[in-house]
Symmetry: C2
Subunit: 667 residues, 2 copies
C-alpha cells in the first residue's frame, strides 16, 4: 500500500522546477533581509532537495515526532535556509513565514545554523562541519538497532544527509564513513553538494582528492547525478536506495544556481547576493512573486507532498497500537527509564562488601547492574574496551551481522564515536555511552560541545583521569581537562571518588534527559569510603561532607575523585594535631552550584580554611576557596613514571598536603 501511494505521488521535473525555485527565492530573500547568511548552498541544492522531499523522504509535517520518520540531516548547516524553506513549504507548524522573515534575528527559530532545540524537523544542530554526517551515522545505527529489537513494522526508515565539501574534508568524515561502511549502514544516504567551491575559492586551492574513490575504499556505494536534472536525480536516488551499503550521491551542482553573475563562485557562499543580483536571479528563474510570497499553485504542490507521509504515519500508528511492543517502544522513545532497583541494590551490595577498586572498575561493575536492567543502553569504546571497562553485563557486539548487539567497537575514532553517540541519542530509543581516556576529550571536544548544546543524554566514560595513570606520561595525563570541561555550559562533569559514588554518578547520568555527562574515572585503585547506607543519592548534591570535623573546624578540604581518599588520610593527620577538618567530596561542581545558597554556604564553611585538592589544574577552584584559600593541584604538564611516584613527585601525599595546610594556617 505504501508502495502504491509512493508511485501515485511522484513529482516530475515540470512540477519540481518551480517548487525548487521557491527554495531559491526564500533563501536569497531571507539572506538579503538579514544582510547575513549563506545563499549559495540552498540555491545550489534546491533541485536535489525538492526531489528528495517530494518523492522519497518519509515524513509527516503534522507529526514531526513520528518515531519511524526518515531522518533528514543538513550537515552543511550554514545552508540553513534550505531546511527552513523545506519545513515551511511542506507545512510544518514552524517556521512560519514570519519566522523566515526574521531569519537570523533574535528570537526567530530560523537561527543562522539549524538548532534542534528550536524547530521540529531539525533533527540535529549543524554548522560545525562534518558533524552532521557523523551524527547521521549514529541515527542510522539507532535505526538498525531498534529495527532488530522491534521489527520492520515499527522501525524501518532511512537517514538522509546533505553534506558539502567542508563536511567531507574534515577529519571526522573519515571516522564517520569508516564506521558506517564497516557496519553496512545501507539506510544511510549522503547527498554531496559537489559544487567545487569553498569559502576561500575553488576546492583546487586545497584538495586534489578523488572523493568518490575514497568512499569506495571505505565500503560505500557511490553514484553521481547532474544536480539540476530531475530525471538524473531521481535515477541516482533510486540507485542509492537499492544498495545494501551506505551510499554517497555526488550531486554535481552550481553553487548559487540562478544568480546570474555570481553563480558558480565563492561570492555566493556566505554573503547576501545584493539587490541587483537578486533582481537578475528573479529574471533568470522566472520568479515574479514578491519576497516571502509563494504563488498559491506552487505552495499547493509543496503542501500536497504531506499526504504521502500522513498516510504512512497513520498506518504506522495503527501497527503500533496493535503491537505487543507498544508500551516498551513508547517508553524508550519517550526517553523514560524502566522501573528498576538494580543500581540501588548494587549500592547496597557495595555497602555490604566494599570494593577498593579503580573507579573505572567500579564503573564496570555498575554497568553490570545497569545493562541487564536498562535494555536501551548502547555502550562502546574507541578501541580501549579493556582500559575503559565499558563492556559489562553480557551485552554482545553491535555488528553488521547483529544489529541487536549493544556494544560498539568504535575503533580509534574518538570524535566519530562521540558524534555517533549524539546521533544515537537524538534518534531516540537508546541511551549511548562510550569510553576513551579523559585526555582524549581533546579529540572529541567538538562533539562533546554539541552534546551539551543539543541537550542530549550522552554519557562519556572517560578513564585514566589524572597523572595517576602513570607511565604513559604527559601526552596521556589530563591536567586542564576537568577545568576546561567545567567551563562548558550544560554538561555534568563528575569525578566520583569510590565505588559507591561511581554507582551514584551513573544513576544521575542516566536520569539526565537533557544534558550529557562526563564520568572522569581513575586508572588506579581507590579505597571505598562510603561504608554506610545513605538516605538517597548523596552525589546528587554535587558536593557533600564525607567527613565532618571532629575537633573544632579549622579546615575544609574540597576534593574530587581519587583525591578524596587522600583528603581523608590528610584529615586524619590534621585531626591528630587537633585541627578539625571537613572533607567534602565535590563530585560534580555543576550540581553543587545548583543547590540552594544555604546548603552551599554550609559546605563552604566560612570559618574554615578552604582547600581544593585535585590532581589537575587549579584553574577555577578559587570560586570556592576564595583568594585566601589554598589550591592544591597541578598547573604544569605531567611526567612519565609509575602513578605512585608521580603523586609523590607532585605533592599528592598526606604529608605534603598536611604540611601545606599547616603552613597556610600559620601564615
Amino acid at each position: 500500500m505504501l508502495e502504491a501511494s509512493l508511485t501515485a505521488m511522484t513529482y516530475d521535473a515540470a512540477r519540481l522546477a518551480p517548487m525548487a525555485n521557491a527554495i531559491r527565492a526564500l533563501s536569497m530573500d531571507a539572506v538579503q533581509a538579514a544582510n547575513s547568511g549563506h545563499p549559495g548552498m540552498p540555491m545550489g541544492m534546491a533541485d536535489v532537495a525538492a526531489a528528495l522531499f517530494a518523492n522519497h523522504l518519509k515524513f509527516d509535517p503534522s507529526r514531526p515526532d513520528w518515531a519511524d520518520r526518515d531522518r533528514f540531516v543538513l550537515s552543511a548547516g550554514h545552508g540553513s535556509m534550505l531546511i527552513y524553506s523545506l519545513l515551511h513549504l511542506t507545512g510544518y507548524q514552524r517556521p512560519t513565514m514570519e519566522d523566515i522573515r526574521n531569519f537570523r534575528q533574535l528570537g526567530s527559530p530560523c537561527a543562522g545554523h539549524p538548532e534542534n532545540f528550536l524547530l521540529e524537523g531539525v533533527e540535529c544542530t549543524t554548522g560545525p562541519l562534518g558533524q552532521g554526517l557523523a551524527m547521521a551515522v549514529g541515527m542510522a545505527m539507532a535505526e538498525r538497532h531498534l529495527n532488530a529489537v522491534f521489527g520492520d513494522d515499527l522501525v524501518d526508515h532511512r537517514t538522509w544527509v546533505v553534506a558539502g565539501d567542508g563536511c567531507l574534508m574534515e577529519g571526522i568524515n573519515h571516522e564517520a564513513i569508516g564506521l558506517a561502511g564497516h557496519l553496512h549502514l545501507g539506510g544511510l544516504n549522503v547527498l554531496w553538494d559537489d559544487n567545487r567551491i569553498t569559502i576561500d575559492g575553488s576546492t583546487d586551492l586545497s584538495t586534489s582528492e578523488d572523493i568518490k574513490a575514497r568512499y569506495e575504499a571505505t565500503g560505500w556505494h557511490v553514484c553521481e547525478c547532474a544536480g539540476h536534472d530531475f530525471d538524473d536525480i531521481e535515477r541516482a536516488l533510486e540507485e542509492a536506495k537499492n544498495t545494501a551499503r551506505p551510499s554517497l550521491i555526488a550531486c554535481r551542482t552550481v553553487i548559487g544556481k540562478g544568480a546570474p553573475t555570481k553563480q558558480g563562485t565563492s561570492a555566493t557562499h556566505g554573503a547576501p547576493l545584493g539587490p541587483d543580483e537578486i533582481v537578475g536571479a528573479r529574471e533568470a528563474l522566472g520568479w515574479h512573486a514578491d519576497p516571502f510570497e509563494i504563488p498559491a499553485a506552487i505552495l499547493s504542490d509543496w503542501r500536497d507532498i504531506a499526504a504521502r507521509g500522513q498516510e504512512a504515519s497513520g498506518a504506522w500508528a495503527a501497527r503500533l497500537d496493535a503491537s505487543p511492543h507498544r508500551a516498551e517502544f513508547q517508553r524508550r522513545m519517550a526517553g523514560d527509564l524502566p522501573q528498576t532497583d538494580a543500581l540501588n541494590e548494587h549500592i547496597a551490595e557495595l555497602i555490604q562488601n566494599p570494593q577498593n577498586v579503580a573507579s573505572r572498575k567500579a564503573s564496570e561493575i555498575a554497568l553490570a547492574a545497569i545493562n541487564p536492567a536498562i535494555p536501551e543502553t548502547i555502550g562502546g569504546s574507541a578501541d580501549l574496551t579493556g582500559s575503559n571497562n565499558t563492556k559489562a553485563g553480557e551485552i554482545g557486539a553491535f555488528t553488521a551481522d547483529d544489529y541487536a548487539g549493544r556494544y560498539v567497537y568504535y575503533g580509534i575514532r574518538e570524535f566519530g564515536m562521540s558524534a555517533a553517540m549524539n546521533g544515537l541519542a537524538l534518534h531516540g530509543g537508546v541511551i549511548p555511552y562510550g569510553g576513551t581516556f579523559l585526555v582524549f576529550t581533546d579529540y572529541a571536544r567538538g562533539a562533546i560541545r554539541l552534546s551539551a548544546l543539543q541537550e542530549t543524554r550522552v554519557i562519556y566514560v572517560m578513564t585514566h583521569d589524572s597523572i595517576g595513570l602513570g607511565e604513559d606520561g604527559p601526552t596521556h595525563q589530563p591536567i586542564e581537562h576537568l577545568a576546561s570541561l567545567r567551563a562548558m555550559p550544560n554538561i555534568l562533569v563528575m569525578r566520583p571518588g569510590d565505588a559507591v559514588e561511581t554507582a551514584e554518578c551513573w544513576q544521575i547520568a542516566l536520569e539526565q534527559k537533557d544534558r550529557p555527562t562526563i564520568l572522569a574515572l581513575s586508572r588506579q585503585n581507590l579505597p571505598q569510603y562510603r561504608l554506610e547506607a545513605a538516605p538517597g543519592n548523596l552525589s546528587a548534591r554535587g558536593g557533600y561532607r564525607v567527613k565532618s570535623a571532629d575537633a573544632a573546624r579549622k579546615v575544609a578540604i574540597l576534593a574530587t575523585g581519587s583525591e578524596v581518599g587522600l583528603a581523608l588520610e590528610s584529615a586524619k593527620a590534621l585531626e591528630d594535631q587537633g585541627i578539625g577538618t571537613d572533607v567534602v567530596s565535590m563530585v560534580c561542581t555543576e550540581l553543587f552550584d545548583e543547590q540552594d545558597e544555604a546548603y552551599r554556604a554550609d559546605i563552604l564553611a566560612d570559618n574554615a580554611l578552604l582547600v581544593s585538592l585535585e590532581a589537575g589544574s587549579t584553574f577555577g577552584w578559587q570560586r570556592y576557596t576564595g583568594p585566601n584559600g589554598l589550591n592544591i593541584g597541578i598547573d604544569r604538564f605531567g611526567a612519565s613514571a609509575p602513578g605512585k611516584d608521580l603523586f609523590s613527585h607532585f605533592g599528592f601525599t598526606p604529608e605534603a598536603i598536611v604540611s601545606q595546610i599547616q603552613n597556610k594556617l600559620n601564615a
Copy 2:
C-alpha cells in the same frame, strides 16, 4: 660522493637480522623491567626500522641538530622503545643504557611516549594518535620551503614516519594526507606498520577500509613489502624514494614478532610479555645476551652506520661555510628574529592615525608590517582567509608549483593545519601562524595541546572570538573557549582590545621561542583607545591600566578584548557619578600571572570592587576578583542575532554594566 658512500655502506639481510633483534631484546626487556609499556610495535617493526636507519636515513648521531638531517617521526609513539633503541644503538649521546634501564621511571628521558624536549633525535612528541604523521607533513612542508629559499646545497632531506593502524584510523589522518597529497610532498615517506591488530583485537572489529586505495585516492604513491624480508623492505624503500608523490609503504608485519606464543595478537600491544614468554623469545630469536647487553659485534655494526651520516654532515657543513646564505640560514634555524623596527613603526603609525577596526583587521595590518620584515613567517587559514584576515604583506601561496610561497591554503582542516604548524615549527627555520574561528579550537585542541607541551612557537590567529560574531549563532560563538585554553599549561592566550594592543600581542607572540600563542580577535569593529606613545610594549605586562580612576577609586574593571572599550564607556558613566573606576586591559592572564606580586597587587587594587568583564564564561575570573567581586560574563550558550543585539541581550551595554556595579556597591 654521497651516492658512493651510500652504496658502500649498504647493510644486507645477514647483517641486519641480528641488529633488528637487538631492538627486539631491548624493547621486551625494558618493558618487562618497567612492568609497563608496548613491546608489540617495536618488535614488529624492528626489521623495517633497522633497514631504514642502516641504509637510508640521513642522520649524524654526533650532530643531532644538523639542519639538513632527515626527520624521523615515530607517529605510533606508544612503541617508544623502538626509537630509544635506535638512538642508543646508533650512538646518540642519550639515551644511555642506564636511561633505557629506567624506561618509564621518573627522571629518565625514556618516557612512556617519546618527548621532543627530553631527547635529541626525537623530532616531536608522539602518543596522541595520528598527530605524528600530521606533524611530519608540516616538517616536509618546511623542508620544501627552505629548499626553495636556500637551495639543494643547504636543504634537501626527507621526512620518514612510522605509523600504526591507530594513526591511520584517526580523523586527522584524512586531513594530513589530503594536504600532503595536494602539495606533492614527495619527500614524505610513511612506513605503515600493517599488523592488523589494535588494542581491542583484530582491526576487523572496527574497520573494513581499503587503506591503500584511500591513500591512492588522495594522491599518494602506495607500495607494500613483507615487513620481515629485508630484500623486500629494501625494494620498497627504494621505490618510495623514487616517486615524486608522498608515499605510503604498507609493511606487512607480525606484531610482537619473536614472542613465541603471543606474536600476532593484541596481547603484545600494551603489556609486558612476561618472563616465560621472554625466555621463549630469546630462544626463538637466537638472542643469548643478558638483558640490556648488546653483543659487541652487533653494537659495532649499529655504530658503523654513523659514518655515512658523519661524512654527509661534514660535507654539508663545508657547503654551509661557503654559502652566501650562511648567516641568514643560521639565524633562521636558531629561531632568532631579524633586527626590525617594523612593528614599532607600525604602532607609531597607529598612534598618529588611530584605526577603529576589528582586531582581526588590526591583525591583518600588523601582518602587513610583519611579513615583509620577517621572512620566515608562513601564514595560512583553514579555509577562512577572508574572515581571519591572515593573508597580508604580499605573500604568495605555498603550492606544489611554488614552495617559496608563504601562504598555505590549508583547506577545511583545522586539526591538520594545527598539527602541520607544529611540524613547521619543530623543523625550524620558519614561524607558522594560521587561522580559524576561535570556537573551532575545539577541533584542533589535540594539536594545540601538543604545541604547548612541545614548546613550539606556533601562533594561532583565532577570530570571531565571542557572541560579537553575531548571526552565525551558538555553534560558532565561543563561550568556554578562553577559559578552557587558559587552563592549559604553557600557552599564551591573548585577547587584545584595540589595534595597538593587537600589534603588541603579535610582537610578543613572535618573541616566544618556546611557547605557542592564541590570538583571540574580534569580528566586529573596536575603538582604538591606545592613543599615546608608550615607553614599551604595555601588553607584555599581561594586564595594565588603560585608565586610572579620576574620583576616589571604588571600582576596578578587568576587561579583555572587545570588552575593554565597553569598560571605558562604563567607567565614564561611573565617574560621572563620582565613582572612581580603573579600567584594566587584562590582555593575557598568563603574562599577568608572571609579574611580581607588587605589580599584581597594585593592579588588583584591594580597596576596590573588582569586576571582571568578558563576553565568555566567567569560569576562572574569581581568582582575580575574589568571592566578593563581580563577574560579568556569559555562562550559557549564545544565540543567533546581529552582534549588537546579542551584546544588549546578554547585558553587555554600559547601562547594564553600570547598573550591575551600582547594585553590587550598594549591596
